[in-house]
């Protein structure tokens, strides 16, 4: 036994995570000590400041390319890019989370422990201020995601997975209205998430058995040289991939998505749709590109089938949805399929285009959920599509913005959605995966139909008696919405800077 030597840590490189974990802990502390009235503003400001600070550090560290913390964390181009994206998208989601102008007390329940349907519950629904634990929880989740995309061994990845999943499970349960749905969503998310984690962990064990290490670099070497039974390796790859695909909402591990997206408080849905997706694919990219790239020949067809299935399931099921949140959930499943197409290009272009897609989609989807929070009636959000009939007449501005967002989802040019699709399909085609592109195109056609249906609902149908009014958003939601829409437009019209950025960032360190 040698003397234990503490591995050197580049604190600058891991500072964004440290800042956010610190902020989260501080938030918990404040939760304990501050008077109720002061909590919300303090927590919100603290969280926003933390995110901004983390982002600044990411920008400052943008040239860092190292393995640190004993090889457990990789700070490289993709990490920094994805961390930056997660922070920005998290910031937008947090703006939605923090908004209290739409609903008295915000979108979250005051005390989760209150029994649903009791008198106390009715009181909290109409009067009480929402819980403020959500801010530290959200920051924990975001920080976990940052670690997730930076993790350079499977154990760190597992821990990070749990660190960002557990707060999300809780956040899902905290809706102010329709709490039964919210709790059910949380239960499903939790049980299935834990189930998937178990698969992931068993996969980790198998890979460890094969490679003798869980560090990606060592796994990479082992895939080439090891004489161990490859059954371990491929079983391991499969199970690890399943764990990650679950978070990314790829079929057939997508089953939780519609229920959870629908039941969760809409700001949290936005957070999940944008940030979780970035994090999950970030980790998947690193695992596939860094650790298992030697086995690419074997896993590409399997994951290709999954990608096709994901696109098909998302597109086909979206066609008949009647709830806007559920529709967006299926759309997000299909979009996971498109990202997977980019991932499977297994090239530098594949990496950069996938990253571009994730960011572009993240901005758009948060904006979409921001609009969803605005369309409300006396019972809260009016998510049934029939209620959106004639919205264009009632509120042309928001209907127009939402139409633009839908066009972006449909991949119409001059939106980021088009550029993103173009990028991933281009990368896939270049790598000879023409069949994925063909399915991508076909499912895009199918997907256009549900989007168009919403547009028809909003613009071409006459407003009915029950068409809800659109609330004028408070500053926070408006800011999130505008950031999302502007980003969607800018990335569609002038994508060059971001494309350059993703291209220059598209290099893993091993």
């Amino acid at each position: 036994m040698q003397d234990l030597q503490l591995p050197p840590i580049d604190y600058g490189a891991v500072a964004p995570m440290l800042i956010l974990f610190g902020v989260a802990c501080l938030g918990v502390f404040f939760e304990a000590v501050l008077p109720r009235a002061a909590r919300r503003s303090t927590q919100l400001v603290l969280a926003l400041l933390g995110l901004v600070a983390a982002f600044v550090v990411v920008v400052l560290e943008s040239d860092t390319r190292i393995l640190t913390a004993g090889g457990a964390v990789a700070i490289d181009g993709p990490t920094l890019f994805l961390q930056g994206s997660i922070i920005l998208l998290g910031l937008m989601a947090l703006l939605l989370v923090g908004d209290r102008s739409l609903e008295q007390g915000g979108a979250f329940v005051a005390q989760a422990a209150i029994t649903v349907g009791s008198d106390a519950d009715r009181r909290q629904a109409t009067r009480s201020q929402g819980a403020t634990e959500i801010y530290p929880l959200a920051i924990f989740a975001i920080a976990g995601m940052l670690l997730f995309v930076a993790a350079n061994d499977l154990l760190t990845m597992f821990v990070a997975l749990e660190v960002f999943s557990l707060p999300l499970y809780l956040l899902c349960a905290l809706a102010r209205r329709r709490r039964l749905l919210s709790q059910e969503a949380a239960l499903k998310y939790f049980l299935l998430g834990a189930y998937a984690s178990a698969f992931f962990l068993f996969g980790v064990a198998l890979v460890y058995g094969f490679a003798g290490s869980v560090q990606f670099g060592s796994i990479h070497d082992a895939v080439r040289e090891s004489t161990q039974s490859t059954v371990l390796l491929y079983g391991g790859i499969a199970l690890v991939a399943i764990g990650l695909l679950f978070k990314a909402a790829a079929a057939p591990f997508h089953v939780w998505t519609p229920d959870v997206y629908q039941g969760a408080p809409t700001p949290i849905t936005g957070l999940m749709a944008a940030c979780t997706k970035v994090a999950a694919f970030g980790a998947l990219l690193r695992v596939l590109y860094v650790a298992f790239d030697g086995a690419a020949w074997d896993y590409t067809p399997v994951l290709g089938v999954i990608a096709v299935l994901t696109m098909l399931v998302g597109a086909v099921l979206a066609v008949t949805q009647t709830d806007i949140k559920r529709l967006l959930a299926y759309s997000s499943i299909a979009n996971a399929g498109y990202v997977l197409v980019g991932v499977l290009a297994l090239s530098k272009d594949g990496l950069s285009s996938s990253m571009f897609y994730l960011v572009a989609y993240g901005f758009t989807v948060i904006a979409a959920f921001a609009v969803v929070t605005l369309v409300r009636d006396a019972d809260g959000e009016a998510t049934h599509l029939s209620r959106w009939a004639g919205l264009g007449r009632r509120s042309p501005l928001f209907a127009g913005l939402f139409t633009f967002i839908l066009l972006a989802f449909a991949g119409i040019p001059l939106t980021s959605g088009f550029i993103a699709k173009f990028a991933v399909f281009g990368a896939a085609l270049e790598s000879g995966e023409a069949w994925l592109v063909i399915f991508g195109v076909i499912t895009s056609m199918l997907l256009a139909f549900p989007y168009l249906r919403v547009v028809v609902m909003m613009w071409l149908s006459e407003p009915g008696e029950s068409t809800p009014a659109v609330s004028v958003p408070g500053g926070l939601t408006a800011a999130a919405l505008m950031i999302g829409v502007v980003a969607t437009l800018v990335l569609g019209v002038a994508p060059a800077p971001l494309l350059d950025l993703t291209t220059s960032a598209a290099e893993f360190v091993r």
Partner: protein, 102 residues
């Protein structure tokens, strides 16, 4: 093939994992479901430790500790969620949580 052959531990781990995985499918009670998942995690732990022995390094054993901590955290969150539902529904059956579908 003596009893100390580590492969037996691996087989045991696989069997435990399978029991857990199938248990999730066939049991209704949320708590039991959750226990099944814990079982799967522990099966993974067993596998880690066994591989640690096979590979001759300690990484696997260290990982097992990490997993235990994580599992404990999961229990906290999980039980909280299950509890809040139980308070409303007066039932821990997961089949009754069936509002969100299609």
């Amino acid at each position: 093939m003596n009893a100390t052959n580590p492969e037996w531990y691996l087989i045991l781990a696989a069997v435990l994992f399978t029991i857990g995985a199938v248990g999730v499918l066939i049991r209704r009670n949320a708590i039991v479901l959750f226990m099944c998942i814990e079982l799967m995690l522990n099966a993974a732990n067993l596998a880690l430790v066994t591989f640690s022995r096979i590979n001759g390094n300690l990484d696997g054993q260290i990982m097992a500790f990490f997993v235990m901590v994580v599992a404990a955290a999961e229990v906290v969150v999980g039980l909280a969620i299950i509890m809040s539902i139980f308070r409303t529904r007066r039932s821990a059956s997961v089949d009754e949580a069936n509002l969100l579908k299609y």
